[in-house]
Every structure is written in structure tokens, then in C-alpha cells.
Amino acid sequence: MQVPYTVHTRSDTGLYNAKLGIWLFLSSEVMLFGALFSSYILLRVGADTWPHGYEHLNIPLGTVNTAVLITSSVTMVMAWASLMMKDFAKYRSYLGATILLAIVFLVIKGFEYAAKFEHGLYPSTSTYFGIYFTLTGLHALHIIGGIVVNAYLWGPGSKMWKTDPERFTHRIEIAGLYWHFVDIVWIFLFPMLYLL
């Protein structure tokens, strides 16, 4: 038994299954982060005082991290493009770079967290820090998820390139879509938490 349209696109919808699937999944993620953004606005508007992000957070580190994540998005899409050009070795290095950049992002985030804890700033300190830790924490979980998936596709999962290159390319595209979404979330989180 074989499920149709795992590899080829269905002519009337123009999509293969996983492509539609990932976009639906991302839609639900939009609603997840949307709810959190909207909670953030609600709480901030309702608060008597709300600190500016730049008073508490390290903007240079945040900026570096933004650049790191954007770069990882480029390497991700390059990994896919390499597969499209049938260059498996290049694919490997690009995806490898993506994974490394993601790890760098987490390490920097870790330093930021550690610095906060050292100063006795915890989620319970204020609603601002509550939001900061919850949103960045949830985002970090998404990063970790992405690392796991990408690591699989870099390592054991890449065997599929030999047996079913087209499907494998699809997988990278899907993983990429997810990864870019995580990037977009950060693109909004960064000004929201650090700059405003």
C-alpha cells in the first residue's frame, strides 16, 4: 500500500501532501504565537508600568542572535537549493552550518538567561520577565525541535537521497519551511522584547 502524492504533486491542487501539511501546521503555529502576542499586548496595555526592553536586555547580544538566526535561514534554503542542483556534499555543509548556527543561537540565549538569573531576575520577577522567559523559552523549544529534525536529515535521514532523491528534497523543503517560520517568529520577538 502506498499513499498517493507523497512525492508527486496532485494536479488539481498543485501540491504534494507534506507541503500542504506543513503549511497547515504553520498556520496552527501562527495561532499559537498569535495568542501569545495578543496576551503580551493585552498585559502590556493594562500594566501601570512596563519596562523598556533595552533597560534590561542586552541589545548587542540580541542583535547578534538575530543575525545568527537569519544566517541560518539562508544556509537552510541554500541546503535545499544544493539538493535541487544535485550537489549532495554542498547540501551537507549548508545543513551542517544551519545546525551549528542554531546551536550558537541557543548558547548565546543560554548566556543571556544565565546573566538574568545571576541578577536575580526570574519569570516571577515581573510580568515583563514572565513574558520574556515564556516567549523566548517557547521559541527556544522550537529551535531545539528544528535542530533535532535537521540533525536527523543531515545524518541517518540523508540515506534517502540514494533511494528517493525527489522525496528527500521535499523533506528538506519542509524542514526549511519550518525553520524559516521559527526565524520569522524571532524577527517579531526581537523588537517586541528587546527594542520596545
Binding site: 496576551s39 515564556t134 517557547l138
Partner: protein, 586 residues
């Protein structure tokens, strides 16, 4: 390649033997997963009902020891068999949660949807079989988490199925379990809904256009969108409440709380109403998740048992889509009493009235479908016909709740309880029973016993009304819900309190009549009358084109669809039904 790709090879496919585990436990076959969902959900329904039976005892005979099981409930819950108020609140919260999230949705979507959608659209399986399996196991974990919460100190969650903050924030550990359980359940629903939408959009058989889909499939499609887009906000809310409970944040806690005389030391600045917004942003669409699949089932059964096409199929489809859409913008009708201004309440009252129109359209279409039919009162049809007026009562009583000024008197009274039980119990549950009786032969190859089925129907019909009808009387008299003693304290409740006994006895009788179903269900699996055709009901939709029970991969011949789903009694045909896949002779 385009359309026949991936059709099952039926028998050929068994080349690779599946182990017991792969076949029954970690199966990726949508039918096995459907059955797993079904059995688990039925057990949860029974469990949720049992919780309510215990509560109904307390409501009828407050402070009297619970017979039979009273002494097993433990001293922390019911010393000497007499229920404590804490325990009553746990039972209430868990009844609501279990019925909604672990019973009806998994049965309607997980079981019926999983089993039937691929069959009805002529697909070999769901689009992502592995995700499908993960979805079931995530549900299972969620269920286990919820059940285990009864055994933690302080017992299960006790802040209502709505878990309003700050009550839920300061509640016992059970609430943490509730939140974690919900996160599993939400994950399960999200995986499931992605899978359903992709399956329905991508895997339809050749010729099966959207307007030829059985109504049941449409209902599942819209339901999946509701789950996909409405659940994440509750997940967000769940994460925030978990943070409040575990990390000491105060997203839902305002400053200046004094709990039992002691100032609460939190940073404050949060909003209790935020939780309600996020909760109802899910929970209103959720109620249509409870009803749409039920309407789908009823539509299939009515078409089959009246032997005529559904009246106004297209308007039903559009109404369903519209209903799904509107359900996202009515949520605050649960919050009229939180201090809402004129403009906003006007908005939500209006959307609430608007959303009643598509329901009226669907109900009317189903009702008119009966006209001119040749109605067979089979057991599934009995349940399906009873669905109509029962849903009618439930839906109509939604109207006074939807008008804010009349909701002043009715909000949080038994009227609300009556309203929604009419839609979910004699409504959805009846539809689900109808579905079980109707598709049982496809799944098992055997019919369920007719006589037992009829006893089950009439017993259930009478007593379920006996439970829920008096709730309107109590509600109009002003009796609040969630009262441990059923309202004994209150003078305004005195005149209607005697109904509590009547309702409880009806509930016990309802429980008794479910035994006929349980016996019938298991007995018929082994001993029921064998069906002598793959299509025992002479039905038109594709699921009846498969062998019985359908093999792995479902269809053994390539499939093409030539017509709409309900071509019954077509003039000039010798038989009174024309299957969707039957080729026109040239």
C-alpha cells in the same frame, strides 16, 4: 499515475508480515487507529458517565452515604461514603473535561473520522499514517495523565472544565496534571487535524469533486479547521497557566490578591479575564467540533434510511462552512457577566444570533429530507431521527443565552447545563450511537442485535429527557450550577429542588439502559448475525465498496466516482440506489 497511484493491492500486500505490535498496538492503518480511538473513547465516556452518576447521587440525596461504591472512594474524598465538596468539584471538572476532550471528540473525530474519511473518499489510508499513530498515542498519554491526577495529593483538577484563573492557579496539583494532559490532547488534535485536511484535499478518488463529498466528510473537514486554528490559543493559555503555577509568574493574577486572609506574594499585574478570552476562543469552536461530526453522521443515516437524496445538500455544505467561520467570533457570549460594555456585547450578541441561522438551515434541510422518503426505522435511524428534535431543543435554548439581558438571569444556572446537554447528550451522543449501529457491520462483518438496540434506544430516549428537561425548570427558577448540595442552601431553589431526585433517578435508569448497548456491542462482535453483502444497507457512498472488513489499503479495485453521494431512488432505475462508483452503462 495521477489518480490510481497507490490504490491498495489488497491481498498482494501481505507480503511483509506485520508483527502483533505493528498490527494492533502501534498500527499505522487508519482503520486500526480508528478502532483504538473508538474503544478508548467509549471507555472514557463510560467513565465520565460514572463520575456523573456519583455526583447525581449527591445532588439528589445531599450528605447521604453513597451506596455500593461509597466506601471505596477513600477518606480524602468521601469519609464514611459521604462526598466532600472538594471531591464534588473534582468530579464536575473531570466529567466535563473527560466527556468533551476524551470522550466525544476522540469518538466523533478520532474514531469515526479516522475510520470513515479515507473510505468515503476512496483513499488507501490517511495522508500521514505515522502522524496518525502519534496522534492516537498522544491522546492516550493525555488520557492517562488526566486519570492519574485522581491519585495525586489533593486529587484531580477541581476548578471546572473551564479552569478559570485565579481559582485554577491556586488549586491543588491536579490542575498541573490537567494542564499537561490538555497539552497532550491538543497536540493530538493538531496532528489529527493536519492529517484530516491533507487527506481530504489530496487523496480524493478520481471524480470525487468537493461537491460530491458525502456530507460527513464535509463536516470532518470543517471540524478539522476548527481544531487546527482554535486549539493553539488554548495551548498558549495552558502554557501561561502552567508558568503561573510552576514558575511563579502572574499572567492571570492581578496585584493585591488576598487568599484565605494572607496577601499572595506574586508580582501581579496579570488579568484573570485574559484566560477566559483564550479559553473561550477555543471552547466555542470546540462545541461545533462536538456537533458537526454528529450532524454528518445523522445526514448519512437519514439519506440511507429515507432512500432519497438529502434535501438541499449544497446549502448544508455552505451553512457548515459559514458555521465554522462564524464560530471563531462568538466566543465572548460566555463572558457577558464579566462586565462587558454595550458595543462589544452588541457585537457578540449579533454574531451569536447570526450563528444560529446556519444551524437552522442544516436542521431544516435534514427535516425536509424526510419528506417524500420511504422511512425505515432501523436502530441507527431511530437515534438519528431523535437527534433532530433533541438538537432542536438544545439549539433553541441557546437563543435566550445569546441575548445578554436574558443571560443575566440564566448565566451559570442549570439552564445552561440543560442547553448544552441537550446538544451534546441526546444530540451528539445519540448521533454517535446511530453511527456505531450503522457502521458496525462494515467494521466487524456482523449486525448488532435489533431488539437490544431498540430497548437501548427507547430507554435512553425517555430517561435522557428525564434528566435534562427539569434542568430548564431549575435554571429558570435561578438555581446555580456547580452546587455541591444541588441548591439546598438557597430559598429561591426550594420550590424546584424535588426535581433533583427525579433527575438523578432518570440518570440511574439511563445508566441501566446503557448495559443493553454494552452487551449488544460485545456480543454482536462475536455472535452477531453475519452480513451477507459488503453493502448491507444498500448505501451509495464509497465505504461500502470495500470488502468487509476492509483490508489494509482499503480498496481492491481502482476507483472512480461518477456522481453525488446520495443518489437514492433515482427515477427510471431498477434499484433504489446508485453507488457513487457505479459506471453509467453506455
Amino acid at each position: 499515475m495521477e489518480h490510481t497511484a497507490g490504490l491498495a493491492h489488497g491481498e498482494h500486500d501481505t507480503s511483509h508480515e506485520l508483527s502483533f505490535w505493528e498490527k494492533y498496538i502501534f498500527s499505522q492503518d487508519h482503520k486500526v487507529i480508528g478502532i483504538q480511538y473508538g474503544i478508548t473513547a467509549l471507555l472514557f465516556l463510560l467513565f465520565g458517565f460514572t463520575l456523573m452518576i456519583i455526583m447525581r447521587w449527591q445532588l439528589a440525596y445531599p450528605g447521604q452515604p453513597i451506596p455500593l461504591i461509597g466506601q471505596w472512594l477513600g477518606d480524602a474524598n468521601a469519609p464514611g461514603g459521604i462526598m466532600l465538596p472538594e471531591f464534588y468539584n473534582q468530579l464536575g471538572a473531570m466529567h466535563g473535561t473527560i466527556m468533551v476532550f476524551l470522550g466525544v471528540v476522540p469518538l466523533a473525530v478520532g474514531a469515526f473520522g479516522n475510520y470513515l474519511v479515507p473510505l468515503q473518499i476512496g483513499a488507501p489510508d490517511m495522508a500521514f499514517p505515522k502522524l496518525n499513530m502519534m496522534s492516537y498515542w498522544s491522546y492516550f498519554l493525555g488520557g492517562v495523565t488526566m486519570l492519574s491526577s485522581f491519585f495525586v495529593p489533593g486529587g484531580a483538577a477541581n476548578s471546572g472544565w473551564t479552569s478559570y484563573a485565579p481559582l485554577a492557579t491556586i488549586a491543588t496539583t491536579g490542575q498541573t496534571f490537567w494542564l499537561c494532559g490538555m497539552i497532550f490532547l491538543i497536540t493530538s488534535s493538531l496532528l489529527g487535524s493536519v492529517n484530516f485536511i491533507v487527506t481530504i484535499v489530496q487523496l480524493r478518488a478520481k471524480g470525487l469533486t468537493f461537491m460530491r463529498l458525502p456530507f460527513f466528510v464535509w463536516a470532518q473537514l470543517v471540524t478539522s479547521f476548527l481544531l487546527l486554528l482554535a486549539f493553539p490559543p488554548l495551548e498558549a493559555a495552558g502554557v501561561l497557566q502552567l508558568m503561573d503555577r510552576l514558575a511563579g509568574t502572574s499572567f492571570f493574577l492581578p496585584s493585591g490578591l488576598v487568599i484565605s486572609g494572607q496577601p499572595l506574594h506574586v508580582s501581579g499585574g496579570g488579568s484573570p479575564i485574559l484566560w477566559q478570552h483564550l479559553f473561550w476562543f477555543l471552547a466555542h469552536p470546540e462545541v461545533y467540533v462536538l456537533i458537526l461530526p454528529a450532524m454528518g453522521i445523522v445526514a448519512e443515516i437519514i439519506a440511507n434510511n429515507t432512500r432519497k437524496p438529502l434535501w438541499g445538500y449544497k446549502s448544508m455544505v455552505y451553512a457548515t462552512i459559514f458555521l465554522g467561520f462564524m464560530s471563531f467570533i462568538v466566543w465572548a457570549h460566555h463572558m457577558f457577566m464579566t462586565g462587558m460594555g454595550t458595543v462589544i456585547s452588541a457585537f457578540f450578541q449579533t454574531t451569536t444570533m447570526i450563528i444560529s441561522i446556519p444551524s437552522v438551515i442544516i436542521l431544516t434541510a435534514l427535516l425536509l429530507s424526510l419528506y417524500g422518503g420511504s422511512i425505515r426505522f432501523t436502530v441507527p435511524m431511530l437515534f438519528a431521527t431523535a437527534f433532530l428534535p433533541m438538537f432542536g431543543i438544545g439549539g433553541l435554548t441557546g437563543l435566550p443565552l445569546g441575548l445578554a439581558p436574558s443571560d443575566i438571569h440564566l448565566h451559570d444556572t442549570y439552564y445552561v447545563i440543560g442547553h448544552f446537554h441537550y446538544v451534546v447528550a441526546p444530540g451528539t451522543l445519540f448521533a454517535l450511537f446511530a453511527g456505531i449501529y450503522y457502521w458496525f457491520p462494515k467494521v466487524t462483518g456482523r449486525q448488532m442485535n435489533n431488539a437490544l438496540g431498540r430497548i437501548h434506544f427507547f430507554g435512553s430516549f425517555i430517561f435522557i429527557n428525564g434528566i435534562f428537561m427539569p434542568m430548564f425548570i431549575e435554571g429558570l427558577a435561578g438555581v446555580s450550577r456547580r452546587l455541591y448540595d444541588g441548591g439546598q442552601q438557597y430559598a429561591h431553589a426550594q420550590g424546584v429542588l424535588h426535581w433533583n431526585v427525579f433527575m438523578s433517578i432518570s440518570a440511574f435508569c439511563l445508566f441501566f439502559f446503557q448495559l443493553f448497548f454494552i452487551i449488544n456491542f460485545f456480543w454482536s462482535m462475536k455472535k452477531g448475525k453475519k452480513v451477507n453483502s459488503d453493502n448491507p444497507w444498500d448505501a451509495t457512498t464509497l465505504e461500502w465498496d470495500t470488502p468487509t472488513p476492509p483490508p489494509h489499503g482499503n480498496f481492491i479495485k481502482p476507483l472512480e466516482v461518477f456522481r453525488g453521494p446520495y443518489e437514492y431512488s433515482v427515477p427510471g432505475k431498477s434499484r433504489d440506489f446508485v453507488p457513487q462508483s457505479e459506471q453509467e452503462k453506455v
